[in-house]
């Protein structure tokens, strides 16, 4: 009888877990890998394996420009985010001043807000007809708006504004883990503060910084909302794909999608290497250095609060604009009329309420399914040690590495044809396709939470329950699920927020009847109905923030 000799098995190797592991891996492969492979196949053909479209892609300068733009925008985003996030992390982790705690949480908030909402808020604040440019225009007495919020600069501004959070959070976590004994040892050896920073602190933080850099790079690479709304003729790969499809150039869209996927997968390989290194650094444990109460604590606190205000200003603007009735604000620097008309229409008119209902049910359904699939995969892989555990974990993780645009296009291509024997059905245009797209995008969030939670769970708890006569289901229900609840709820709430605010997948796959909030924001903007767009934006931001604050923060204490 062949034995699995790689690990201590805590269970009798159950043939059933092998079969169910295989079936689940098959289902996940159908959802995750199959569309990607079909996309690649179509990009390489037709006819046959002619590579016709690839060679055309290589000949066209605009394609090269878009690829180059994706790369340099992402690199510049990394530099800008690091420049904002790292000093902030040092300030909040090493110094103490009034309001540090509340402020520290507040400035991490942009990361949970849907990207589209941030982009629209920026538009209302700094755009051509935004508050700031109106004020500048009024002051200078000019007839023309002083600037246009468009092109690479605008994209970078929005990226830096939302992605500095990765550097901020990773650096803070790294600093909190840093043992003060290293710093004291360096100081005892005669090193001054600057030398300690460059020779001890930063080298020890390197894995955390590398992780943040790659996460920022990947997020920026797949960013869609900012390039779509601000890019204009400046194209990056994600927008190039969508415009190719809009122009009916489906084959080119496939080639572009495959190229973007390849770049992103290269990024994932790098990221995983960085994560491995980070685990090594994680072994360093000790007491972090005490926070210094700053001499000019009041001044720092004031600066900090001003900064927070600056960071939250776009969202405050959004709130304000949501009270501006349609057609009342033309050339004045400040809106002359404020009332609840937009809110009344958004919340009472059936057609305007529809996107909200759509978003809510599609996000809820896709999150529930993603949680079920993610947990089942983790359970079979970690607990039942299924022979398919490697495949299960990889399949759950893949969508995380690939831009949403890639999946949206791949799903659109796969499920627009009816070939049941090849696992293809016509789902595009039905109510199923969007939740399916959200589900694929959510798998990594619920899956990672399940895998990490189950790995942290002491296996002897399960063994203890078994020795007390509890069968597998009772153990799952009474021991594993209650103990994993915080992790699962946190993963699910992140998934829910992502699906609720999704714009990337929606814009490729929506139909009029299933349009989500993000699409409604876009069409309101197109129809110059900025008040309604703002009201939807505020609603989306509020729902996301509520989901995050209620369930998203993982309760570490309740894990053993």
């Amino acid at each position: 009888m062949p034995r699995n000799a790689t690990a201590r098995q805590s269970k009798i190797q159950n043939p059933r877990s092998k079969i169910s592991g295989f079936l689940l891996a098959l289902l996940l492969a159908w959802l995750v890998c199959y569309p990607l492979l079909l996309t690649l196949r179509e990009a390489l053909g037709p006819p046959g394996w002619s590579l016709k479209y690839f060679s055309e892609f290589l000949r066209r300068p605009d394609e090269w420009q878009a690829l180059w733009a994706s790369l340099w925008i992402s690199l510049a985003t990394v530099v800008l985010s690091a420049a904002i996030g790292i000093p902030l992390a040092f300030l909040f982790e090493r110094a103490d001043f009034p309001g540090r705690r509340a402020l520290g949480t507040l400035i991490a908030l942009p990361v949970v807000l849907p990207p589209l909402v941030g982009v629209v808020a920026f538009l209302f604040l700094y755009g051509e007809s935004g508050f700031v440019s109106r004020a500048a225009q009024a002051l200078s007495g000019s007839k023309e708006p002083p600037w246009r919020l468009a092109g690479a600069g605008a994209i970078l501004l929005v990226h830096a504004y939302s992605m500095y959070v990765y550097f901020y959070l990773f650096t803070r976590a790294g600093l909190a883990r840093l043992d003060s004994a290293y710093l004291e040892a360096a100081a005892a050896l005669g090193a001054g503060p600057a030398r300690i920073l460059t020779r001890v602190t930063l080298p020890l933080l390197r894995p955390a910084l590398a992780g943040a850099a790659l996460l920022t790079f990947m997020t920026s690479l797949s960013s869609f909302s900012a390039p779509y709304l601000f890019g204009g003729t400046f194209r990056v790969m994600t927008t190039q794909i969508v415009f190719s499809r809009l122009n009916g150039d489906n084959e080119m869209a496939m080639v572009e999608t495959a190229t973007l996927a390849a770049v992103a997968l290269a990024g994932l390989v790098l990221l995983q290497r960085a994560e491995k290194r980070r685990e090594v650094a994680g072994a360093i444990r000790g007491t972090p250095p005490a926070r210094r109460r700053l001499r000019r604590g009041g001044a720092v606190a004031l600066a900090g609060w001003l900064l927070a205000l600056f960071l939250l200003l776009p969202h405050a603007t959004l709130l304000l604009v949501s009270f501006v009735p349609a057609g009342t604000w033309t050339i004045e620097p400040l809106p002359p009329v404020l009332n609840l008309a937009n809110w009344a229409s958004v919340l009472t008119q059936t057609e305007r309420l529809r996107p909200i209902v759509n978003s809510l049910w599609m996000a809820a359904a896709s999150t529930a399914l993603a949680l079920l699939l993610g947990f089942a995969a983790a359970w079979l892989a970690v607990r039942r040690k299924s022979a398919w555990r490697g495949a299960l974990e990889a399949l759950v993780a893949i969508p995380w590495a690939l831009p949403g645009t890639v999946f949206a296009v791949a799903l659109a291509a796969t499920f627009s044809r009816n070939a049941p024997w090849a696992g293809r059905f016509v789902l595009v245009g039905t109510a199923v396709i969007l939740p399916l797209g959200y589900l694929v995008r959510n798998l990594p969030l619920t899956g990672r939470a399940s895998f990490a939670g189950l790995r942290q769970l002491d296996p002897s708890l399960d063994e203890a329950a078994a020795s007390l006569g509890a069968g597998p289901w009772r153990r799952l229900w009474r021991i594993a699920l209650p103990l994993l609840r915080p992790a699962l709820v946190a993963g699910a709430s992140l998934a829910f927020i992502t699906a609720l605010g999704d714009f990337v997948v929606s814009i490729v796959l929506y139909t009029f009847d299933t349009r989500p909030i993000s699409i409604e924001i876009l069409s309101s903007l197109r129809m110059q109905d900025v008040g309604a767009a703002a009201a939807y934006g505020v609603l989306l931001a509020a729902l996301s923030a509520a989901a995050f604050l209620l369930w998203g923060r993982r309760d570490e204490q309740s894990l053993p």
């Binding site: 034995r3 000799a5 790689t6 690990a7 201590r8 098995q9 805590s10 269970k11 009798i12 190797q13 002491d458 002897s460 708890l461 063994e463 203890a464 329950a465 078994a466 020795s467 007390l468 006569g469 509890a470 069968g471 009772r474 009474r478 021991i479 209650p482 103990l483 309740s558 053993p560």
Partner: protein, 360 residues
């Protein structure tokens, strides 16, 4: 207690064999435990003792061999059907359940009516001296109390066999001895067949009716503490149980003992049947040796390099001139470090034993 024959056995481990990652962790382990007997599995870390316990509990499946209880083969049964109670090294108490809910867990799994569950929980908690602790959270009680909750949880469903994995290793030393006594009296009172794992000889000798010594996955010897100490069956048992010195020697049947490198022949047991001149390890307890001020026919010369005071006596480390070292028990004023001494067997103490030299 005399050796048991198979028909007395309540729990029978029959030629258990298990590999992990190409490593042979238990080899051919057979052990029979009588009803209400307490057997200790003693061995150094990595000896496979925990694996044996996990094989019995059903968390691992042997490559070959079987586990039988009351004549029933349970080798292929999942742990939840074996009706064995287990206390884990770190207790594995369910952190999200109260003390009472932890103890009730196994009873609920049996679908016992609520009122009976509550009564049994109260009784069991009272038996471990934790009456009224039902509603406490696991995080609120001390390590010693957690240990007793773990015991109560394992005992509440009235299992056929109790398994304990290093039950005292998680407690600080001052608490350990008292907890050990309590543990012993509870197990005796319940009268349950018990198998427990430990790496501490004192614990094994105090709690176990018999002790099974494991080394590198093999069962070296099973017997009462006295048997293990006085008649160790292997060089490993002789050196692992109690203190002893090992001296290189050659078997000399004519002298009824072994000739040391330094010349003298010491009487020794265990070499019967060996050919004359066979290289052997002579293992001798500190109380089997004495320190002399002057040389004699049996003595070996050396220098005292260490002394450990232990109240009424002291033990001396002697570096022997012709190589090797010996630990000798003596009166506290027998010698001082730096003294030249002569080490000789003490006829009043236990006789040295010899074991064929292990091939390296």
């Amino acid at each position: 207690m005399n050796e048991l024959t198979a028909h007395d056995s309540f729990l029978l481990l029959d030629r258990l064999d298990k590999h992990f990652a190409g490593l042979h962790v238990t080899r051919d382990v057979s052990l029979s435990v009588a009803k209400t007997e307490i057997v200790a599995l003693l061995g150094p870390s990595g000896s496979g003792k925990t694996t044996v316990l996990r094989l019995v509990a059903g968390f691992e499946t042997p490559d070959s061999g079987s586990v039988r209880v009351e004549g029933e083969d349970v080798t292929r049964q999942p742990p939840e059907r074996r009706r064995f109670g287990m206390v884990f090294q770190h207790y594995a108490l369910f952190p999200h359940l109260s003390v009472g809910e932890n103890v009730a867990f196994g009873l609920e799994a049996q679908r016992m009516p609520r009122a009976d569950v509550d009564r049994r929980v109260a009784e069991t908690l009272a038996a471990v001296d934790l009456a009224g602790f039902e509603r406490r959270r696991i995080g609120e009680i001390s390590g010693g109390q957690q240990q007793r909750v773990a015991l109560a949880r394992a005992l509440a469903p009235q299992p056929r066999v109790l398994l304990l994995d290093e039950p005292l290793s998680n407690l600080d030393p001052t608490l350990r001895e008292r907890t050990r006594r309590e543990l012993k009296s509870i197990i005796r009172r319940v009268g349950i067949t018990t198998l427990f794992v430990t790496h501490e000889q004192e614990e094994a000798f105090d709690l176990g009716d018999r002790v099974a010594v494991l080394n590198a996955g093999r069962l070296e010897q099973v017997g009462s503490p006295e048997t293990l100490y006085e008649k160790p069956a292997s060089r490993f048992v002789a050196t692992f149980i109690g203190r002893s010195s090992v001296l290189a020697a050659a078997w000399e049947p004519a002298g009824g003992g072994a000739r040391l490198a330094a010349g003298p022949v010491w009487r020794a047991a265990g070499g019967e049947g060996l050919a004359a001149g066979t290289p052997v390890d002579l293992v001798v307890r500190p109380e089997g040796l004495k320190l002399d001020g002057a040389p004699s026919r049996d003595s070996v010369a050396g220098e005292v390099i260490g002394r450990r005071y232990a109240g009424r006596s002291a033990s001396f480390d002697v570096a022997l001139d012709k190589g090797g070292a010996a630990e000798v028990l003596g009166t506290t004023d027998a010698a001082r470090p730096g003294d030249r001494v002569f080490v000789a067997p003490d006829p009043a103490g236990p006789a040295p034993r010899v074991y064929p030299r292990e091939q390296r």
